[in-house]
Symmetry: C2
Subunit: 136 residues, 2 copies
Amino acid sequence: MDLLYPNMETFNLDFDKLGGLVPAVIQDAATGRVLMLGFMNQDAFRRTVSSGFATFFSRSRNTLWMKGESSGHRLAVKSIETDCDRDALLLHVEAAGPGVCHEGYQSCFFRRLSDNAWVVSEPQTYNPSDIYGSKP
Amino acid sequence: MDLLYPNMETFNLDFDKLGGLVPAVIQDAATGRVLMLGFMNQDAFRRTVSSGFATFFSRSRNTLWMKGESSGHRLAVKSIETDCDRDALLLHVEAAGPGVCHEGYQSCFFRRLSDNAWVVSEPQTYNPSDIYGSKP
């Protein structure tokens, strides 16, 4: 058995409901803050487990991407949970760098509903152009 | 304007990436624990906002369901956030009852990965047959 690619049957996750994907909630292991939500296909899940760093499937680019590949803002996995239907994942992570969001915020969930409008509810923690250059 | 059905254009959420749905992460407002992940279509989101109780779209039953409709385990919404791409939601809730999961656990995420296997990582908080009868 290839240690880098554990047998997916043992995980018994339900990738069929979303056409090969499961949503993966990323939560800061220390603070409990939800940082982002990504999607994993089977390969992304295997790589996450084998590498210890959260890896997603990009629906827009149709490819795997390890979060932090270019920014350095990696997500070191502390634990992984699945839900009753085995069709969603919850990862507790240690997040490197000042923020997970490519728009410069600690969490991608930086807009809060207030009087039926989305309002930015916190300051940026870094300048995205310092990290990503002109194309975030 | 119908107050019960706020104009969705003002929310500007991206329901297209998942065929009319967005994933909604449900987090306990007091403890920070992630309790479940559901999906909302536009109607479910509108009802959640207008009623103050988390309401989802059931993919298996093809219908709206207010969480807790039958069990009483409702999710009172304290705040709603969206992410940078406006294609995911994070709800902070006050959860009524001993558990969110229909299998009798506080959270649907009660299985943790350990040595490449899912292991139940906590005790049940109630007996689901007491709440749901013979058909959970």
